[in-house]
Symmetry: D2
Subunit: 95 residues, 4 copies
C-alpha cells in the first residue's frame, strides 16, 4: 500500500496546515511589532491546539487504516504497527 | 512602558518563529507528498515542542519584567498583572 | 471476552496505582506541613507523569488486545473500538 | 516568612488532595475489578485534570505571595524566585 492512512482527509489536513503556517507568520509579526506578551501567548496556545488537532486527525486515520490493515493481516507487521502507534501517542501525550 | 517584556530576546524569538514557520511548511510538504503518517506525527510533536519553548521564553521575560515592575509599583495593577499571568499559564498547561 | 486488555499487566498497574496513592498522600502531608510551594509543585509534576505512564500502559494493552481483536473480527464493532480509542487518546493529549 | 504562599487556601487544597487520593483508590479498584480499559482511562484523565487544578492553584498563590514579596523586596532573592517559578511552570507545561 503506497497511499498513507490520511489519503481521504489529505486536502483538509493541507488546508489546516496552511492556516497554521499563516498563524505562525502572524505570531512573527506580533513579536516584530512588540505586541503585548500575554496576547502573543494566547495566540501561541491557539496554534498549539491547532497542531494538536492535525496530529489527532492523522492518528485517527492512521489507526483506522494502516494499523487496522496490519492487524487484519496479522503476523509480525501487526505488532510493529501497534508499537509504532503507541510510541507516537506517547510522544503526543508528553509534548 | 511601551517595550514588551521580551524586548531583550526579541531577535531570538523572531528567529525561533521563522524556524517554526519553516517546520510547518515542511509538514505541509510531507502531507502533500503523502509521507508516512508516523513520520508526520513525529514532526508535529517537534513543532509543538518548539512552540512551547517560545511560550515559556515569552512568559519568563513577561514575569521578570512586566509582572515584576507592576508588583514593585504595587496597587491594583499588580493584581491585574498577576491574574493575567496565571491565566496565561493555565492556558499553556491545558493546551 | 470478559478479561480487559490489561489482564497481563494488571499486577504491575495495581502496584503503580498503589504507589501513586501513596504519592498523593505524601502531597497531602506536604501541604499540611506547609512545605515550600515549589517543592509541592515538583511533586505534583511527578504524580502527573506517573499517572500518564499508567494511562499509556493501559492504552497500549487496549489497542494490542481489545482494538486488535475487534479489527480482526471486522464489522461495526471494529469501527466502534477505533472511535473509542481515538476519543480516549484525544482526552489524554488534551489533559 | 515561614507560612507558604498557599496558607490562605490550604484547607481547600487539602480537601482537593483528599478527594484525589480517593479517586486514585477508585482507579485501583477499577483495575482490580477488571473494568473496561476505556472507562479506566477516562477516570485517569479526570484525576490528571484535578491534579493540574491543584498545581495551578498553588502556583497562583506562590506568585501572588512568595514571588511578589521577593520582587517587592528586590535584590538577588527576586531573581531566584522568578527563576524558580519559571522552572516550575516549564515542568507543569511539559508534564
Amino acid at each position: 500500500m503506497t497511499a498513507p492512512g490520511y489519503a481521504d482527509s489529505k486536502d483538509a489536513q493541507l488546508k489546516r496546515l496552511r492556516r497554521i503556517e499563516g498563524q505562525v507568520r502572524g505570531l512573527h509579526r506580533m513579536v516584530e511589532d512588540e505586541k503585548y506578551c500575554i496576547d502573543v501567548l494566547t495566540q501561541v496556545s491557539a496554534v498549539t491546539k491547532a497542531l494538536q488537532a492535525v496530529a489527532l486527525g492523522l492518528l485517527d486515520e492512521h489507526m483506522a487504516h494502516c494499523v487496522a490493515n496490519a492487524v487484519a493481516a496479522g503476523g509480525e507487521e501487526a505488532d510493529v504497527k501497534l508499537r509504532e502507534a503507541s510510541d507516537a501517542i506517547a510522544r503526543l501525550v508528553r509534548s
